[in-house]
């Protein structure tokens, strides 16, 4: 039984005949921040979606605090509320205000009471500089603001781990910074995080570890200084040459 906060053991996943993950092994310690880099289609997103079992895995296992959460037949509700995930396309609920988006799951799933919950949600908005926008609807917010609301919505469930699936990829360049600042803040607070990202500068600045994925496997991993300055594997070198120029 693995001892890390989160562990993956030879995880395989196929969609039809497309073998997307070909044996992923990974350990994430509490408070660690790991960046997954690699070209589109290398399996980064699928890997994240397999961790919270949004996609059932075909082979291998996923462990959270020593519990096999990929066990067939396991009730996934309690597992998913411990793992927050934020998507590239925000996926806010458009018929609810930002505040309603945030309080829905704590109210229905954690059975939290109205006033205390509202106060807690407002504190979260305040913490990420969105207090003046929390009564607005998603279509009244910029992409960057929507994405920050999506982060707050995930945090409101008090997750133990946060997964971020290329959350700045759909944003206009001038809005990327405000979302990355939220991640910096979470990093400083010691949140355990796993990010799929194309923001190489950000990964270099903040990650404890960088994993380069290609063809459904982790080709190379290490501290960002080593991966970005002195990659050992030819495929990593080729990828970094194209993205860093």
């Amino acid at each position: 039984m693995p001892e890390a906060k989160l562990s993956l053991r030879s995880v395989h996943k196929s969609f039809g005949g497309n073998h997307v993950l070909r044996g992923i092994d990974m350990d994430v310690a509490t408070g660690e921040m790991i960046c997954l880099i690699g070209a589109s289609g290398s399996g980064k997103s699928t890997l994240l979606r397999c961790i919270n079992q949004l996609e059932p895995i075909d082979d291998g296992s996923v462990w959270l605090d020593g519990q096999d959460i990929s066990e067939p037949g396991l009730d996934l509700g309690p597992v998913r509320r411990r793992i927050g995930i934020v998507f590239q396309s925000y996926n806010l609920f458009p018929h609810m205000s930002a505040l309603e988006n945030v309080v829905l799951a704590p109210r229905r799933v954690l059975q939290e009471d109205g006033d205390a919950l509202n106060a807690r949600a407002e504190a979260l908005f305040d913490r990420f500089g969105l207090a003046q926008h929390m009564r607005k609807y998603p279509d009244q917010l910029s992409g960057g603001q929507q994405q920050r609301v999506a982060v707050i919505r995930a945090l409101a469930m008090r997750p133990e781990i946060m997964l971020f699936d290329e959350i700045t990829a759909a944003l206009d360049p001038e809005l990327v910074g405000e979302v990355l600042n939220v991640l910096r803040q979470l990093r400083a607070e010691g949140m355990t995080m796993l990010l799929a990202t194309h923001e190489m500068g950000f990964a270099r600045e903040l990650a404890d570890r960088v994993c380069f994925m290609d063809g459904g496997v982790i080709v190379e991993e290490g501290p960002p200084g080593q991966i970005f300055s002195d990659p050992k594997v030819a495929r990593t070198q080729a990828f970094l040459r194209t993205v860093l120029r």
Partner: protein, 269 residues
């Protein structure tokens, strides 16, 4: 005014003039030519008798209230049953498979049979079982027939609305730990219902008209009352009165539904 604006104003004026002239020509042709037909004096006397119109209008309007009443109590029943059938058809759990089959058969049957036929079969068939009063009332069984037919249509509209909500919404809800049931109730259904309001408005306009079909099984509502007057006065004008009364209600309702549809389309583009 610059040259472009001047050109566009001239164009607009020209198309308005053409539209006005062609409308006037068509109207003039109808007004001048129809009275030249050999049967016109008889038709005018039996369909457009002003005296009969004035004499029957108040009673027919009162009879129309029965249509409105039947409509009013049918709508909540139709919406409730329609929602239940839509949810039954979307049920995924294997244990609920019979419910899914039932929903599919229900929709096929009641959309496949003409409303009039359903009204005849249920309106005459069920009271034929010899039920005691008031359970043999044509109001009850006529309503049942309308509810069965229209809930099948509404169920299909709702189901299309539910299926139009992108899977990412469901994923986001599931990832927050929401149950399937809460996901449907708080995330999917509110969006789906909003999306199909215009389509359902059109259904309700159609229902308001189809209420008149209950006249075949007994209730003295507007169509039957008009028929009674027709026999009594040997004149078809009461039917024209009934048509006018229906139009007074259905035209604004249809326009409102179209307005909702347009607003919806504009909002999405």
């Amino acid at each position: 005014m610059n040259r472009r604006q001047a050109y566009e104003t001239a164009q607009r004026r020209r198309s308005l003039t053409v539209a006005g002239i062609s409308t006037a020509a068509v109207l003039a042709a109808i007004i001048l030519l129809v009275p030249l037909t050999p049967g016109w004096p008889q038709v005018r006397a039996s369909f457009f008798d002003g005296g009969v119109f004035a004499q029957t209008f108040p009673t027919l309007l009162r009879a129309f209230l029965i249509d409105v009443m039947i409509f009013a109590w049918s709508v909540p029943l139709i919406l409730t049953l329609g929602l239940a059938i839509a949810l039954a058809r979307g049920a995924r759990a294997p244990a609920l498979f019979p419910l899914r089959i039932f929903g599919a058969v229900y929709v096929d049957v009641f959309r496949g049979v003409p409303v009039v036929l359903t009204i005849y079969l249920i309106g005459f068939g069920v009271p034929g079982l010899g039920l005691p009063r008031p359970w043999n009332s044509p109001y009850i069984w006529g309503t049942v027939a309308l509810v069965l037919t229209y809930s099948a249509y509404i169920a299909e509209v709702l189901r299309s609305g539910i299926e139009s909500i992108h899977a990412s919404q469901r994923n986001a809800a599931i990832c927050l730990g929401l149950s399937e049931r809460d996901t449907m109730r708080y995330v999917i259904l509110p969006q789906a219902v909003r999306r199909v309001v215009p389509a359902n408005m059109n259904m309700l306009v159609a229902l308001q008209k189809d209420v008149a079909l209950l006249s075949f099984i007994g209730p003295v509502e507007i169509l039957r009352q008009a028929g009674i007057y027709k026999s009594l006065l040997a004149n078809f004008t009461p039917y024209v009165v009934a048509a006018v009364i229906f139009l007074i209600v259905t035209v604004p309702a249809t326009r409102y539904a179209d307005h909702l549809l347009n607003r919806d389309r504009d909002a999405r583009s």
